[in-house]
């Protein structure tokens, strides 16, 4: 410390740089554009609620967990499993394994935040086996662009989800957008909007918007959002967290 103070007398020091790259996400609904450093392993989890959705006033709780690993400095992979609990006015609640599969996330820019510049992008693709419909396949894709300027961060996630079974095919567009400001060291506060829009099939379209926060502490990171219903839903809170090893 003493040494650094002395040298800082004679050379110009600069403002704080962004934190080192990691697999964290700054928003709860949107995916982020960071990936794990090569060979770094992380346990990633998200839990979300979709309360009083559609005419059936359906309640759904989703739990997603997966180990993620930095395959290269640009690419990470995950092997997630997803559980859900569904209930509505006509159906009692039941928790079950819904999906398991694999996904890849490719960051187009340098993993280094300074060398990457202010605009970064990531492509996520995933394929899941549907546990209760043995011949069903679910595929997901997201294209995420994030822009950072000083303490401010904006992110857009254009997501698509398709489920295909021998009987039916459904397609949803799942866009989300978030803006946040770095309030204090490693704590971001902001607003996030998320929607699931039915394109094909019989799913319910809905939209939420609400406050969000994210925080990093050592090997732990957390992102959370409290989505207030705008269309066809009451609330949709979500928390996402990861622990690096």
């Amino acid at each position: 410390m003493h040494r650094q103070r002395w040298i800082s007398i004679v050379i110009v020091l600069v403002a704080l740089a962004p934190a080192a790259s990691a697999g964290r996400t700054p928003f709860a609904w949107s995916y982020g554009t960071e990936v794990n450093p090569e060979r770094m392993v992380e346990s990633e989890t998200w839990i979300s609620e979709e309360n009083k959705k559609g005419d059936a006033r359906a309640d759904e709780t989703l739990i997603w967990w997966g180990p993620t690993v930095g395959i290269t400095s640009h690419l990470e992979g995950a092997i997630p499993i997803e559980f859900s609990r569904n209930a509505d006015t006509a159906t009692p609640g039941a928790m079950h394994l819904q999906l398991w599969g694999g996904e890849l996330r490719y960051r187009f820019n340098s993993p280094d935040p300074i060398e990457a510049g202010p605009v970064t992008a990531l492509l996520r693709v995933a394929a899941f086996r549907m546990a209760e419909q043995r011949s069903g396949v679910r595929s997901e894709a997201d294209f995420i662009v994030a822009a950072e300027h000083g303490r401010f961060l904006a992110s857009v996630d254009l997501g698509m989800v398709s489920e295909h079974t021998p009987d039916a095919t459904s397609l949803e567009f799942r866009p989300s957008v978030g803006v946040s400001v770095l309030a204090v060291d490693q704590l971001r506060l902001g607003v996030e909007a998320y929607s699931e829009l039915n394109i094909q099939g019989d799913s319910v379209s809905w939209v939420v918007v609400g406050p969000s926060a994210s925080w990093t502490h050592g090997r732990f990171w957390l992102a959370t959002a409290l989505g207030e219903g705008i269309v066809n839903i009451h609330t949709a809170p979500r928390v996402k967290f990861g622990i690096q090893f």
Binding site: S8, L16, S21, S73
Partner: protein, 218 residues
């Protein structure tokens, strides 16, 4: 006439670019049994853009070699892994945080350093590995020779401060010097080194695992 003026302008420009030369010696007082290391000598007071190639810091024998380098802001450092096991180079320094991930022998990762600052570099796997990168605002910096002598050429005319620094120095030492165009100035600097342990935390801000603690080899 125009040709004459152009020739004069080119000559003046060349003289200006040539600048002056600073030569000198850094005399190091080292504690008994103290480990020697590079001594960085640099001039401050003006800015220049980086034109030098990348600097290389090898990872060899669970050490960074060299463990002190001076850079011009905008230069890059390459970190090749020469050990038959993984290394994970990272910096926790706020001015230039980075994490190169874990990579194996024969692979190289690099980072650019766009802003001046003093950057600590470590390995997340091997706590005994540490290095310092001093990013400077101009190209007038050298590593002194084994006998402490140095020569810095191309210093623009003016009154500048020359610093000498080593990782084991109690603090940098400096002297002000007038540099004339095409002239040579000589200085002597005396640097006191102390026993220093480069203890640090891993990239998560935690102590290294038991058994991995840094044990000085001297």
């Amino acid at each position: 006439m125009r040709a004459w003026l152009a020739a004069i302008a080119v000559t003046l420009s060349a003289l200006s670019a040539a600048g002056g030369t600073i030569t000198g010696t850094v005399k190091v007082t080292r504690p008994e049994g103290g480990e020697s290391g590079p001594i960085l000598v640099y001039v401050v007071g003006f800015a220049e853009s980086a034109t030098e190639p990348d600097v290389v810091i090898q990872q060899h024998g669970k050490r960074f070699v060299p463990d002190l380098v001076g850079l011009t802001a905008g230069q890059a450092v390459a970190f090749p892994n020469g050990d038959p096991f993984l290394h994970n180079v990272f910096s926790p320094t706020d001015t230039r945080r980075f994490d190169l991930g874990s990579y194996e022998k024969g692979q190289t990762r690099s980072r650019t350093f766009p802003e001046p600052g003093v950057i600590d570099v470590y390995c997340n796997i091997h706590p005994e590995m540490s290095a310092t990168i001093v990013v400077l605002p101009n190209r007038r910096h050298v590593i002194a020779k084994g006998d402490g002598s140095f020569t810095i050429e191309g210093v623009p005319p003016g009154t500048w401060t020359v610093f000498a620094y080593s990782r084991r120095a109690a603090h940098p030492v400096s002297v002000k010097i007038d540099v004339g165009n095409g002239a040579s100035a000589s200085i002597e600097l005396a640097l006191d080194e102390v026993q220093r342990e480069f203890k640090h935390e891993n990239k998560f801000g935690e102590k290294y695992r038991a058994g991995d603690e840094y044990r000085p080899t001297h």
